[in-house]
Amino acid sequence: MSQDRQELKPRDHDAPERGSLEKPAPASSHPAPAAFSPEDMARRNRRSIALALVLGGLVLFFFIVTLAKTGPAILNRPL
């Protein structure tokens, strides 16, 4: 049965391996590192801005949740 399934599944050498950590290495062993294009850099910048917004949102989230968890009596205590 498992042999049948194996036959049903052609291996696509361009596809990432199941659970692999990285893309397959290119055919040439030491190609020159290619620079990111301006479009790639713009994408990375947008990604960084999104990450910053998420981190800012998390700060606000934890602040509000802390207030809700401690309740209004947080300041009503002996110093």
Binding site: P16, R18, S20, P33, F36, R44, R46, L51, I64
Partner: protein
């Protein structure tokens, strides 16, 4: 500066260490449509639970549950990148399309998994956090890594992962879970097979190419059609239980009966129409309506509880 930046993002052999994927690609890794259904079902468990929770805490818990669900979807996409690449339906997902590296998806999924469980434990309680952790483990490891490629019952057992959110929702409110959320669990659990098998009937070629032993590929379309009808015949009455138990009202009773009958009708059409385009249309109709069905059941439950529409329905069991 740019040259240095380029160097640190590429290993000696030129393989990229970081992709140029955008925020929307990372968001796509979370399976947003599944996240939306998880939010609706978890909220259903929260509002149906006997008790109340601070709205801020409830919203924070809901956010943690949905992010946890998204994280498990992300880990699923990381593990299944090889089969996603050979299936037309999934070939454009961020990893097989090359927009996100597998290592990035793994790190993203693990970070969100750990973070969502920790946050849920801090804002709600340990039981809810433990259940979320188990749900992520069940979907990412038990279903994705084991069942999916091993048995045609993959989505039957794996469907439990999608059915846990209402139980987590009740655990957030009460610190425990009872019959209420178990019934909601049963509805989603029984809904999963007809929903996925309807799609698998149409996409059986895709699944065959990917080597996934879905029921139509292993037992054949005829047996799959019979199983779809059998599960739907059990699902429809179970979906009426919330009204009979008192946590669904009159509107829920009417909607669950009407949509349940429609589900049975569509499943019978899948059983009858077995050839050509008409068969695919019948399966697609069931697949599409099943999403609306589950959404409607929980949306009505939410509306009744949230808007005070619990009309005077005699409580049979509750």
């Amino acid at each position: 500066m740019s040259a240095v930046f380029d160097q640190i993002n590429r290993a000696d052999d030129g393989v990229a260490l970081s992709s140029t994927g955008e925020a929307r690609d990372f968001f796509a890794l979370l399976k947003p449509r599944v996240m939306f259904l998880v939010i609706v079902t978890a909220l259903g468990g929260m509002v149906a639970a006997p008790g109340a929770v601070n709205p801020v805490i409830g919203l924070a818990a809901l956010l943690a549950i949905s992010v946890g669900a998204g994280a498990s979807g992300c880990l699923n996409m990381w593990w299944d990148a090889d089969i996603d690449a050979v299936m037309a339906r999934t070939a454009d997902r961020p990893i097989p399309a090359g927009r996100i590296l597998p290592s990035e998806a793994l790190a993203f999924g693990l970070t969100l998994s750990i973070g969502s469980v920790l946050v849920l434990g801090l804002v709600a309680n340990l039981l809810a956090a433990a259940m979320l952790a188990f749900t992520i483990f069940f979907y990412a490891v038990v279903y994705s890594m084991w069942l999916k490629r091993a048995t045609p019952q993959n989505i039957v057992i794996g469907g439990a992962a999608g059915a846990f959110p209402p139980m987590i929702g009740e655990a957030v409110v009460t610190g425990d879970f009872g019959l209420t959320s178990i019934v909601l669990f049963a509805i989603i659990f029984l809904w999963t097979p007809p929903h996925f098998w309807a799609l698998a009937l149409v996409k059986s070629g895709d699944y065959a190419r990917a080597g996934i032993p879905m029921l139509p590929n292993v037992a054949g379309p005829a047996a799959t059609r019979r199983q779809i009808v059998a599960y739907t015949l059990v699902l429809a009455p179970v979906a009426v239980l919330p009204a009979l138990m008192g946590f669904g009202g009159l509107i829920y009773l009417i909607v669950s009966i009407a949509t349940g009958l429609a589900m049975i009708g569509l499943s019978l059409r899948v059983l009858r129409v077995t050839e050509g385009d008409a068969a695919n249309k019948a399966a697609y109709a069931l697949f599409g309506f099943s999403i609306l069905y589950l959404f409607l059941l929980f949306a009505v439950l939410l509306a009744e509880q949230g808007l005070g529409l619990m009309w005077a329905l005699p409580k049979v069991l509750g």
